[in-house]
Symmetry: C2
Subunit: 539 residues, 2 copies
């Protein structure tokens, strides 16, 4: 077996000047096992199973709403698959009190008058269905403040309430499908100075008011005898983009049937109402809650045990398996799950024998606020002390201005890094180093064998909104890859178009290979990945 | 009243060299009444009613399928509007035997297994509905040749037949919304030499076979007890693009319920079938034929009578009022109708007293092959002798290779020109001169006051596929304007997105002004517009 050692002292393009002497020492000896890299690449490119995995998760299992039967089936199926591939320590870890299961099968909306036409709409998750087909008149009412609720009291009974204003069509003059070009990648290498973390009191007050409104509104809608609510899809062109409504928590008010309607149909109804034409609708929504009480959800975990002196240390990789329900959660995030699973399969197939243990986690509850990964990190690695200020305590963790002191768990020192994928099915173009300056030159070395498939950059930018944040927040090196955007933010994100068709097979193969190589490198290098400093108040 | 006379001998940009001495004589004296042009412009830009008209046609009346109740209501409403505006000779002219009325109100499709999800599909026009909600198993069968029908005989009973293959997603890398830039307009000024008109015998045989297959297939589907057919939408991204199926002709077989499904859902079903999973569907399609026998359809006609020495001559303008049924026929072609109506309203509002009579026609049956305008031209102006060759006779008129001799009607010499609009709601960027070289420099002069709103070019290209072809074919100067494409061929053409939201108000105002000016110019210039030579066999 021939083994190439790279020990370059050259700084990767775009990083020059960003690194100090100590970082240079760290990466000057960085070794990439090119024989193993070649094996990984061959397995990933020529014997890929990533699309089979994606297909099963999306087409066969379907959308995997947190705590839904489909999510449970995805936990079961991925465990079975990990077992079949010979992974060790395959198990689920519970995340307590994630709420109630919910699913839907039918959402039929018809305009009966002023003229007959089918309307395209889908229900918000965790909202009730209709008792069979129901009919009612549409009306417009904004219900955003307590004053709104007061104003409409007694006037909404038996109505189907359209809660948004008409939104004029704005054409997009950019292509729906985008890849980074050289200029875009250069731009990504620049680091915009962060905005102050403090949220101004007005914004904070508005956010808290909105959070308080939700349960009030749900109770109000039911008490007032509203038949259903309809809101406008946040995208145009017939795409229905829908997340949650009602409440997933047992004992909380779930409101009334709540639909999101394609913008062009929503506007059609609103224009009729503006012309003072009575609009009569027929709704038939079959959706249901599946539990009476809050249930745990599950993260699925599996490992390739380390065989070297650091086998009690871990390198983690993961992606969230839960999804929204309008499509099949293909790009958000069966794509990430399929890539992370494939990376594990590849490492087994090439006979990888890592020093450290490699552990994959398929998270639940990401769409509800990174709940699965947060619970996992809190249990295994560390969490912040609860704030004492009641105003801060009332906020969700990610909105708090002061994090408090970090309480470390015994495994805190045993994790080298966490790698995440959750920006659709676009190929990897590099990695966000999250201001971990010492990690950057290491990644720059690791990326070199992948320049020819488009993965080239290490940016110090912080990217958020997905599960690496749970690790990064407590000071564990947690990373998300830079991915080509494709049509993630024009077509598929949380929409009915998030189905297998919009996932790009070659891009997923490329990503699988790179992730496999990254975790292998992390699991075999002599040192764990360097950590960046925690903020002073948390040290 | 100040009156500016333009008498420029300059050739318009891009036309240099295309004109002979006689054409130069024709336009050297071309006079544009800039006072009237300014009045038209002011009325069009500042007191526009074009969006009100479009709104009524699309939102209130809705899609206007040929011979549907909505099309009849559009005939009625536009007559009333023309009457209200003080137009003369407002009437409908019948187009015989256009077929039967049809309409639909509901198209609900649900996948019951392997997993429950709503599927988005719409019925083809002139196909039967289901008797309430029905259930059946999906299967794939190509039914394109007699051999196919033979192969599947006895195997389709009670099935829902998916007739297309899976179509992999191809992302578009161009913006969905497009305007011509300077380079595009330059390109449009070049004239590609025409392909030979003769269709090769193989293509001809295939086309005839396909035409023969339709009634055979419709009978077969009913005889074999097929529950319904489903085909794939020709566009991706959830857009349902649907035209006709079955038959609009009384006495012809209409087949079984036939739906077009959004591509992403169609492919989802096909992938399940490829995995050998039984796919069970529930369909509920409420569509119905409204007549037992073929009925006439109607073109709506109205005039501003000429008051000069040529008042027995006419200048015509028109657009088709019929549409497909998935959206509201907003860009195809309520946009054209609203602009043509607005042009008439503007001319009345500015007190135009044209020499020639200005006549507007709102056509029916365009989507079925320019049937309304063809019948009108045949009755009023001229038509070709029926071919004697039976092979040619069997073809629709537009596919025949030899046109035969033109039979002229008495009004043939009395029409100066016909102007059409039917490429969506995009603003006018110029005009297709259809190789009428002598007309081009005249148009170039007429366009000068509109350069500042983007209308600049006269191209000799022939554009087709709409009603000016009916005039052009018999040698009458018939023109369609060059329009910005916007999202006509990415979102709206024949699709469920063809609703008012996708029509651009400012563009329609601009078009209304230019059309009003063009027909005014044509109706006041001393000579009728020059004609191009008929092909030798038709002279």
């Amino acid at each position: 077996m021939k083994r190439w050692i790279l020990a370059s002292a050259l700084l990767a393009a775009g990083l020059a000047g960003a690194q100090g002497a100590s970082a240079q020492r760290a990466y000057a000896q960085e070794q990439v096992d090119l024989d193993m890299t070649a094996r990984i690449r061959q397995e990933a490119f020529q014997r890929s199973q990533v699309m089979d995995t994606l297909n099963h998760l999306t087409d066969v299992i379907g959308p995997r709403l947190t705590n839904s039967p489909a999510m449970a089936e995805a936990n079961r199926w991925t465990r079975a698959k990990f077992g079949e591939w010979g992974l060790a320590n395959v198990h689920d870890e519970a995340v307590e009190d994630l709420g109630r299961g919910w699913q839907f099968s039918r959402a039929e909306v018809e305009m009966l008058s002023p003229r007959a036409m089918p309307l395209h709409a889908l229900p918000k998750a965790w909202t009730p269905g209709t008792p069979g087909a129901i009919e009612g008149e549409a009306m417009v009412a904004r219900l955003e403040s307590k004053a709104d609720l007061e104003q409409w009291k007694g006037k909404l009974r038996g109505k189907i309430v359209f809660t948004d204003e008409l939104r004029p069509y704005k054409p997009s003059e950019k292509p729906d499908f985008q890849r980074y070009d050289a200029a875009d990648l250069d731009e990504l290498l620049t680091f915009p100075l962060p905005k102050p973390r403090a949220i101004d009191p007005d914004t904070l007050a508005r956010m808290r008011a909105r959070m308080e409104m939700m349960p009030l509104l749900n109770r109000y809608l039911a008490d007032e005898g509203v038949l259903a609510t309809v809101s406008i899809s946040s995208w145009n062109d017939g795409i229905v983009r829908v997340m949650g409504g009602g409440s997933r928590k047992a004992g909380e008010a779930v409101g009334v049937p709540a639909l999101v309607m394609m913008a062009e149909h929503y506007n059609t109804v609103l224009r009729a109402l503006q012309r003072k034409e009575p609009v009569r609708l027929r709704l038939d929504v079959d959706s249901r809650f599946l539990d009476e009480t809050n249930q745990p959800g599950y993260n699925t975990i599996a490992e390739i045990p380390g065989v070297g002196p650091h086998k009690d240390e871990v390198v983690m990789l993961g992606a969230h398996m839960d999804s929204w329900h309008a499509g099949a959660g293909a790009n958000d995030n069966a794509a990430g799950v399929a890539v992370m699973m494939e990376a594990m399969r590849i490492l087994k197939a090439v006979g990888a024998r890592p020093d450290r243990t490699i552990r994959v986690a398929l998270w639940t509850g990401e769409e509800q606020g990174l709940l699965g990964s947060q619970a996992y990190v809190a249990r295994h690695f560390g969490k912040f002390e609860e704030p004492t200020d009641p105003a801060q305590k009332a906020l969700p963790a990610f909105m708090r201005q002061q994090r408090g002191k970090l309480v470390r768990m015994p495994e805190y020192g045993k994790i080298s890094a966490y790698f995440n994928l959750d920006n659709g099915s676009g190929r990897i173009r590099g990695i966000y180093a999250q201001e971990n300056l010492a990690a950057a030159p290491i990644f720059a070395e690791w990326l070199k064998p992948w320049h020819d498939v488009g993965a080239t950059i290490v940016t110090q930018r912080n990217t958020g909104s997905t599960d690496h944040v749970s690790f990064d927040a407590v000071g564990i090196p947690g990373f998300q890859f830079v991915q080509d955007q494709l049509d993630y933010f024009s077509h598929v994100h949380h929409s009915d178009l998030d189905v297998q068709d919009h996932a790009v097979a070659d891009d997923l193969k490329q990503a699988s290979a790179i992730v496999a190589a990254f975790v292998y490198n992390a699991a075999t290098r002599p040192q764990p990945l360097p950590r960046k400093p925690l903020p002073p108040e948390s040290r």
